[in-house]
């Protein structure tokens, strides 16, 4: 609101053209209205959309687009979703398309996989991925491996989605990151969005993909608004699975991350920029299949690598990136060993002061950058 006032004061007679565009759903409706009337007052308008709303839009659009798509999980229907991701969808699509399940992860994940084998396109929500451990056999042995075991006869077009990794104050059993666990298995695709654009584009791509896709969201990002370009607002906007994105270009060092910590990397980058260090920040977007070429191309430019993740260090996503860099052509371009910034190797504690030291902070990233660059 303050921004709007300030802008109005700054702008001359063309104040209408610099009006802050409406948010979220209202923006979408306005856009549609303008498009119908053939009116475009200004250059294509990006709008602010929270990750939650972006996911909601993606689900809405894909439910509308393909009758075989349906959503199931705990509280997804009448409660509007434990984290309100599926708000309004049950009201719009009804019992057949949005299904509340009992608390039976192994059972309903298996049911979802069976439905996919028989030609439907389920979106199976785990309230958090911590609970997916109850069902992990169905994700791996039933979903991931069936196409291979049947020599391509039976595909499993399913999406498993939900919040992953640390939240705030939810302690050890509700804070684990499963990127490394699911990323380990051939037959799965694993995506990890950061921004609203990531969330919307990757979820749509995941639903349209004929393979089992695990989508690792983050609870702390759900309420965060990001700019959604006009292109990203389109009903056909998908982000290709398996392609990373350079969020910030730089020349001195490459920071590779996924999910929430991409934001931390960008923060670290802006702090470091003041000291003349230009970080290139890569948002992996996909854990499997990993876009290692994007990292390699960046290292050729910057000669330094830091991986940043929320999960534990041992056998983690960063460990895999470092191993692949060692094995590939980019090794010759490294001026220093690749370094990992990870969650602390401890079950997540509850007390805030302890929790703060259990996930990477911006200062930890900055410290690592300075170590690697020897400054």
């Amino acid at each position: 609101m303050a921004a709007a006032t300030a802008l109005r004061q700054l702008a001359p007679l063309g104040a209408r053209l610099t009006r802050i565009p409406p948010h979220g759903r209202a923006a979408g409706r306005l856009l549609q209205q303008q498009q119908r009337r053939g009116l475009r007052l200004s250059a294509p308008a990006a709008i602010q959309v929270t990750v939650r709303d972006a996911l909601n839009q993606a689900l809405d659009e894909e439910l509308e687009r393909d009758e075989r798509v349906f959503l199931l999980g705990e509280e997804v229907a009448q409660y509007d979703g434990a984290y309100k991701i599926s708000r309004g969808l049950w009201k719009k699509y009804g019992d057949k398309r949005v299904i509340d399940t009992p608390i039976s992860e192994m059972g309903f994940a298996g049911i979802a996989v069976g439905a996919a084998m028989a030609g439907l396109r389920p979106v199976c929500e785990f309230m958090t991925f911590n609970f997916s451990m109850q069902a992990i056999d169905q994700v791996i042995n039933s979903a991931a491996k069936t196409c291979y075991m049947s020599a391509g006869l039976i595909g499993v077009p399913i999406v498993f989605r939900g919040p992953n990794g640390a939240a705030a104050g939810v302690a050890a059993q509700h804070s684990q990151c499963f990127a490394a666990w699911y990323g380990h298995c051939p037959g799965l695709k694993v995506v990890s969005p950061w921004s609203s654009e990531d969330a919307k584009g990757l979820l749509k791509a995941a639903i349209r993909d004929d393979n089992p896709v695990v989508m690792l969201e983050n609870e702390l990002l759900y309420g965060v608004p990001f700019e959604l370009s006009e292109q990203a607002q389109s009903k056909d906007f998908v982000i290709p699975i398996g392609k990373a994105k350079i969020e910030r270009e730089g020349t001195h060092i490459t920071l590779v991350s996924h999910s929430r910590l991409v934001g931390h990397c960008l923060e670290a980058a802006s702090v470091l920029a003041k000291e003349g260090v230009e970080c290139e920040v890569i948002n992996m977007r996909t854990i499997r299949p990993m876009d290692i070429e994007a990292v390699e191309a960046s290292i050729v430019k910057t000669n330094h690598l830091i991986t940043v993740e929320g999960g534990w260090p041992q056998f983690g996503v960063g460990a895999e990136i470092c191993a692949r860099i060692m094995e590939g052509p980019a090794f010759n371009y490294l001026d220093a060993p690749a370094v990992r910034v990870t969650g602390t190797d401890v079950p997540m504690p509850y007390a805030k002061i302890l929790e703060d030291s259990s996930t990477p902070q911006v200062k930890d990233i900055i410290f690592a950058v300075k170590k690697v660059l020897n400054i």
């Binding site: 192994m106 028989a118 069936t146 291979y148 075991m149 039976i154 299949p289």
Partner: protein, 374 residues
């Protein structure tokens, strides 16, 4: 020209059909059960006989090939249980769906995969129904979802297939099979709950062959009345050695599901002659006498043969002819299975994904790369 009468069997001597008394099923939460009499035509009888014999011979052939080390790994044989898959297939339509666990060769055949493709899959050849990539426990075909190695995991899958049946509204059902061992898996109870809640057209079928690997049912289950374990789901207990009993019960259950009443549980009391798998001789936890007694008194194929002969539906010679033809078919299939080439190395990484552009897969070290196509 005069006709030459060739001395031949006149098949008009046989009856077209006969009526049989079958055992009454034990019922749970059902007022009425399947009929205790059924009509079987000569044609049906011959078909059931032939099918059961093929499965019997195929399984014995697999036993032989396993001992010759041409089949590796796990091999769980179905001989003794033939009446289950044959009776069930007779009760449903090809457009219905079936899923079972790893003792799957019988169902793989009744669902339409030829013997040669089953045996070639066991021997790991490219002519196998899964191109050699699946093996004994992972055979699939249209409307047959395997072949599943994780005990009990196929049950939620089957309910999911039933959910799709209900969703698409084409009046199809899903038979979801599991064993007495699997019947104690928690995920089965989760599935019972959701199937009943959502009235899924799913027939839960417990093939109770009295032993979960080496553990008898008395030692594994606080309640061995598997047809009651669905609690709020109606159930029936069926003589699984009698193909007609299985057929009638299957028809009854299929109609129940198709009418929209929701799921139903069927327990088939059956028996396996082999041990749990080829690495289990099957006599440490049960006596040879017991096995012999089942063979002599309850063998499903003998039961059917006696019925047909005693009711003038077929002659012993005719059935012997079928035996010979079956033997020939299985021998030829085995021949194929031992001579067909193994899958080429290029096939190793194919079908990791479905409908995906080709991509590279890492081999044992970073310099070994394979191509993966869908």
């Amino acid at each position: 020209a005069s006709r030459v009468m060739v001395a031949s069997r006149n098949y008009a001597d046989f009856a077209n059909e006969a009526t049989f008394e079958i055992k009454k099923c034990d019922l749970h939460r059902l007022e009425e059960g399947p009929s205790t009499t059924t009509v079987m035509t000569r044609e049906e009888g011959l078909q059931y006989y032939r099918t059961m014999q093929i499965i019997r011979r195929m399984e014995l052939k697999s036993d032989q090939m396993y001992k010759q080390k041409i089949i590796r790994g796990f091999c769980h044989l179905y001989d003794g249980q033939e009446a289950c898959c044959v009776g069930l297939e007779a009760a449903i339509k090809p457009t219905d769906h079936v899923i079972t666990a790893y003792r799957a060769h019988g169902f793989t055949y009744t669902r339409g995969v030829p013997v040669r493709e089953i045996l070639a899959e066991l021997t790991g050849r490219k002519g196998g129904c899964a191109k050699g990539k699946g093996g004994s426990m992972h055979m699939y075909t249209k409307n047959f979802y395997g072949g599943n190695g994780i005990v009990g995991a196929q049950v939620p899958l089957g309910a999911g297939v039933a959910l799709a049946c209900k969703y698409f509204g084409k009046n199809e059902i899903c038979l979801t099979l599991y064993g007495d061992g699997a019947a104690n898996q928690g995920q089965i109870f989760e599935t019972y709950n959701m199937a009943a809640l959502w009235k899924l057209p799913c027939i839960f079928i417990c093939e109770n062959n009295r032993y979960g690997m080496g553990t008898s049912v008395e030692r594994a289950a606080a309640s061995t009345e598997y047809y009651r374990r669905g609690d709020f789901i109606p159930g029936l207990r069926v003589d699984g050695m009698d193909v007609l009993c299985v057929r009638e019960a299957g028809k009854f259950a299929a109609e129940y599901c198709r009418s929209g009443k929701g799921p139903i549980v069927m327990e088939l009391q059956t028996y396996r002659y082999h041990g749990h798998s080829m690495s289990d001789p099957g006599i440490s936890y049960r006596t040879r006498e017991e096995i012999q007694e089942v063979r002599s008194k309850s063998d499903p194929i003998t039961l059917l043969k006696d019925r047909m002969v005693n009711n003038n539906l077929a002659s012993i010679e005719e059935l012997k002819d079928i035996d010979a033809a079956v033997k020939k078919e299985v021998e030829e299939a085995a021949q194929f299975a031992t001579t067909d080439p193994e899958p080429p190395l290029e096939e190793l990484c194919n079908h990791i994904y479905f409908n995906e552009p080709p991509f590279e897969v890492r081999g044992a070290n970073q310099w070994i790369k394979y191509k993966s196509v869908s």
